[in-house]
Subunit: 341 residues, 2 copies
């Protein structure tokens, strides 16, 4: 037996489809109390549920949004996802979670799939935003909010959650310099991502402020993942002179570095100070607990979804690109100490 349709309900209640439709969406549309009860009874008995496809085919809205992230296994996204879902559920929206797996191609596939399913908006919380994604969405006028993306468009249903890394990085650098460090490395994310360079430059600026020249800071490329950190440690050890402090583009990389260091018998923080970025849950459970720069992850998720709601509801009005700024802050734990030498 196939699922009952609105027609079946109408028959069972002895009314027409439109009447059923009215009690279904019944806001202000007056329908007689008696017939309403008839219809509700029929709905309950048949366990009727409206077909969301048919409905959104005609209303042009699906009460659903897409949420793209790079990797569910990356703990950074967990509070973000949670924050998004909090607001979404409150507002009656379903969220489709899509794992891009750090692949541009995969993300594009999801975006097309989401659009073909008429989602009302898309959240791109992936650290590896592709301009191509945004372009595709903008061209089709789909409300979109992206995390940490430099808008090169100034108009449309677009929003950006910008992260002010500078503040936290400043404090971290001050901390390291005060400890007496003077040879640094930055292990960046993939260098083709704009955000990778932004973090690196903020690091350089903060160091310059303390009269440390760019020449004293090496740059290595990681992949924002744990095993990337492990791997890159080998190359870090080949650096000469050996750096005493490393700033990783994210906590996962930092934890990978620590793990790799331990395997080689190095002691953290005595032989190497490590600073991460994100402050994922793991950061203070690791050993040693990770000194890091905290991003307000739950808030990022919440305000992104909030902003998306605004965009979706300000239907069509040609608005400028929305922007929100969230701040970072420094968290001192035990993966940093004065250099030994």
């Amino acid at each position: 037996m196939p699922r009952p349709t609105i027609q079946d309900v109408a028959r069972a209640a002895g009314v027409s489809k439109s009447t059923v439709s009215r009690v279904l969406n019944g806001v202000e549309d007056y329908v007689d109390a008696n017939t309403r009860r008839q219809v509700e009874k029929a709905i309950a008995e048949l366990e009727y549920r409206p077909n969301a496809l048919a409905r959104s085919l005609i209303t042009k809205r699906s009460l659903a949004v897409g949420l793209l992230i790079s990797d569910v296994a990356n703990a950074f996204y967990h509070p973000v996802i949670h924050g998004v879902e909090q607001i979404a559920i409150e507002a009656g929206y379903d969220t489709f979670l899509c794992n891009t797996n750090y692949e541009v191609e995969r993300g594009l596939h999801f975006i097309r799939s989401l659009m073909s399913k008429n989602v009302d908006g898309v959240l791109i919380m992936s650290s590896s935003v592709s301009d191509e994604w945004i372009a595709e969405l903008a061209r089709h006028n789909v409300p979109t909010v992206a995390l940490d993306w430099k808008p090169n468009i100034s108009e449309g249903p677009l929003g950006v959650i910008a992260v002010d890394f500078a503040a936290g990085i400043q404090q971290a650098v001050e901390h390291l310099v005060n400890l007496g460090h003077c040879r640094f490395v930055h292990v960046a994310g993939p260098l083709n991502l704009p955000t990778s360079l932004l973090r690196y430059e903020a690091f350089l600026r903060a160091l310059a402020w303390h009269d440390i020249p760019a020449a004293d800071v090496a740059l290595l490329e990681g992949n924002l993942q744990f095993e990337g950190g492990q791997r890159v440690l080998t190359r870090l050890l080949e650096l000469s002179p050996r750096p005493t402090a490393v700033f990783a583009a994210n906590d996962l990389t930092a934890l990978g570095l620590i793990s790799g260091a331990r395997e080689r018998g190095l002691r953290i923080p005595d032989d190497l100070s490590v600073v991460g970025l994100d402050d994922i849950a793991l950061a203070d459970q690791s050993s040693p607990p990770l000194t890091t720069i905290r991003l307000p992850k739950l808030e990022i998720g919440r305000s992104a979804m909030q902003m998306l709601l605004t965009l979706m509801h300000s239907d069509g009005a040609a608005c400028p690109v929305h922007e929100a700024l969230v701040k970072s802050s420094f968290v001192e734990r035990q993966s940093t100490a004065a250099p030994r030498s």
Copy 2:
């Protein structure tokens, strides 16, 4: 400008909708090579993408499946999700990932939402499967595969991935007994879940095999989460006589126990041996690395999706409930040792 429809393409190519539809789904349906190129050109120029809603409204298939899990933040699910997506993508299916947040109500909401979106099947990889969910899906004939669920129905488009905990638990118990332990605790998941009792009973049976009476093994209730493990440690310490070894229902709980123990100055494994279950990625990065029982997580995801494909394609044929068994195995690391006393 709204998204172009099949009609727009037809006009642009100077043909009818039907022809466009043919090249779209073009299997072996003969369409003149010339007109085909005309149509493809128009499609490319308009960047036309078929509306998945309208399509599945008539085909009754959406090429999408729902994937319910308890919590994206629980690392156990990451390889499972990955495995599901591997097979799904291969087969051309999209997956909708839904976070039940360990709440029955939320899961039910998702299931209804998925059904109303005409998903072709549902995967319930949540550790807290509700019979109500399965009933709802079965009643509407939606192909479903559940993890670790005791079927009380014998027919329908249903599949079960059963986990053989016994083997791994046996080995773990043997390991502990050989070390000289004789006073045990089990920190279970929520006791209203059937799977919680199954693990507990398997533990008791394995101990009985070594002539350890049920009286010597205490039972505490956790919640399968890290902080639950931390919390329950307090109650563990109040036990008298103090147990020397604890078997946790999952790794998260075990890691929470270890974290709680460390806070109170206990040393693991000297003061307390801890065995987990799952073997999540974190397990061998923790300190000390966690002795645990490994579940083949990727395989669980892969075979679940594989089974779902089978169910979805064996359309309507009244088949018995499919069942697959995956095995557990013991992994010795460093959170277990001989008791001190």
